[in-house]
Amino acid sequence: MMRYSFFIGCQIPSRVPQYETAARAVLKNFGVELADIRQFNCCGYPMRNVDKKAFLLSSVKNLALSENQGLDMLVLCNCCFGALKNAEHIMAEKGPLQDEVLGKIREMGLNYQGKTRIRHYLSVLYHDTGIAAIKKQVHKTYKELNIAVQYGCHALRPSSVTQFDDPVAPSLFDELVAATGAKSVDWTNKLECCGAPLMGTNDALSADLFSRKREAAIKAEADFFCTSCPYCQIQFDTVQQMLVEDSAGQKALPSILFPQLLGLSMNIDPQTLGLGANKLDISKIESYLSKDKE
């Protein structure tokens, strides 16, 4: 039995709750047990631009909480994952800031030694569960469905810190998508940023970066984006909807969260997967599903 502390961060419960329910439903089928730690706080990512101490304290507190329960951490959000990984990396060095952070953590009755392994949702599925086990649970496969996967920056890079996959030619996400029968298309901007980090500080630039990605994905004949990060998903779903509303004649390329894609093929009902909670309609995806395998 695999057991992890479950880190969902801030955006998922407030803006992409279907990611959590879908992810839980899928993991349950693979016997992954999740421990909820209510004292978890923000991973620190949103403060990282302006306050290193606030960022480190936030991250390290979460790591310490998980460590003190002797649990590795399963993370759903790329930016949380990246922040936690970077914090772990920074804390491995000695310095006055590190000492200060450790002191504060100790004051809270916690202890941080860097023992907790920080795992991304996709990594757990790929490495711990394994493609073979996933295929066994896939009861319906997608036929002629083209998916543009969005790896996301903060999972991939800096690769020396995140150790997620090959930063130049990653394949983990593609293989997971292929396990459902869908085709993961090659597209030019695949490994680039979704633009979310500049949302709110430079909206025009953020929108440009997204639009470029959409053009590339459409050109590669993708039917859907597929994401594994709430920020990417909000950018591809909520923000895209805003952009489409603003400019007549633009065609939306809807985005599905990976556990939604996988869950449907595992016969988990669409309600649990929260298909209806996405802003852009993704119900069409069910028409790509084959009949049940015998």
Partner: protein, 541 residues
Amino acid sequence: MLAVIFSAKIVRLLQAFVLDVLLQRKILKESVLRWAMHMLIFWGFILLLFMHALGRIVTDALFSNYEPTLNPYFFLRDLFGLMVLAGVVVAVIRRFFLKIPRLMTSSMDKYAIGILAVIILSGFLLSGVKITSKTEFSDMAEEYAGWLSQEELRALESYWVSDQGLVSSDVTRPFAADVLDQGKQAHESYCAYCHAPAKSAFASYSTGKILSPAAGAMDRAGFVGILWYIHFLSCFIGLAYLPFSKMLHIFSTPITIMANAVMDEKKSKPENVATRQIIELDACTHCCTCSLYCSAMMGYEARQNTYILPSEKIAPLKALAAGRDLNEAETRAIVEGIYLCTNCDRCTVVCPSGINLRQLWLNARERLLQQGPAEPLVLSQLSFVRGLNRKKTPADIYPLPLEKADNAVSAKYRPLLDPDRSIDLTPPAGGQQPTSGFENTFSYCFGCQNCSTVCPVVGNYEDPQEQLGLLPHQIMCSLGLGLTETAMGAKMIWDCLTCYQCQEHCPQNVNVTDILYELKYMAVAGVDEGRQNHDQAGGLR
């Protein structure tokens, strides 16, 4: 209206009333101790109010045999009082001894605990002293048994001393059995029909016992009267000040919980939402549950600005809603406090008063940002949700807070970017350098420009240098030359996605993105320092 009553809403309303108002299930989920505290105070207080304070009006109407000195009422009064007192003791322990992190205690909390304690303690003292008082006894004996003989009165008094807690120097122990018997008979004939045994008011009786060595002196000094005034006045003050204290939540919290149970934000009239929000500010009981679970709590630990904690934002927002002006330092602190929020909605989910804090923050935030001083935090990813909601802000003023922050943080370094400026190549003595550990890798840069080539932000522009000031490789180069301030003025550092493409692709292992982070920290620190100097030079007050 009728349609509302008979719709499913009534069910939800009732459910909210029973589970959230009467039984406070949200608090139970947080902590059993806290729930016990609240239940003891709430139920003890409400029942005392109806049965004791408003006894003649409420209880009389409900129970025909009501008489405050008869059981069960005599016993219940003490029980309810003791419940409140036990709750107050738990509150004191929680607030002053348990050291619960981020449970802040304000003067309002102390007042609330204090006034409750005074009301209940003075009540117990009053009835305790009354039980021991010879004067009270004599008055009662005269009124209800005035026709008894001297000897019979003696016997009655002896019986009261031995059994009902009376203290009297006119009769002396030990009492003969027949005297007590006679006294008991007189008691049963003249007193018992409207006076339950004093022992059933167990707390008052015990108080009387404790006080009995001093009872004679207290009686002569008129303590019954004094305590009655204290008790009555404290009740009166509590009542009169209630609308201005956190005790107002007795009314505002149920309203908030129930309104939020049935109100649909999107379908409600804006003025109704606004009214509700004003009530909501009063519904906050300063229980600090929100702050215990606030996602941004480590921001508070790092910056020690209490306004970062949601429970502490309510007071200044209330002041602002009342039209009061805050001073410069307070305004700055509340702007930072309200912006250092990840919009996770947890505070709203856990608030036992059911306050829609999320909406409160959203509404207050934009106004404060527009009117307040420059806030460097708007240059961070904390702005994500503001970006998502940008259509709620008029397009012409939406960019202003960003421009204000940019001006405060980076614009002062911008003249250094002027290409016509002659560059001073001697590194400034003691000048700032990003020196923290592994970020200090810019010196390995050999200028291959890979970083700028792979940067999607650079790639987005026809004229990147015009837009961004300096490109990533130029920033590394500037740092190599010791031109840190010049680099801090580059718009590039704030337009960086933190996508780490540059760092990943640098053949020299320069930590480009991490260095950009350090430059941002230095630029923001410049603002903080400037403000501190300004404050120290007496710029404040």
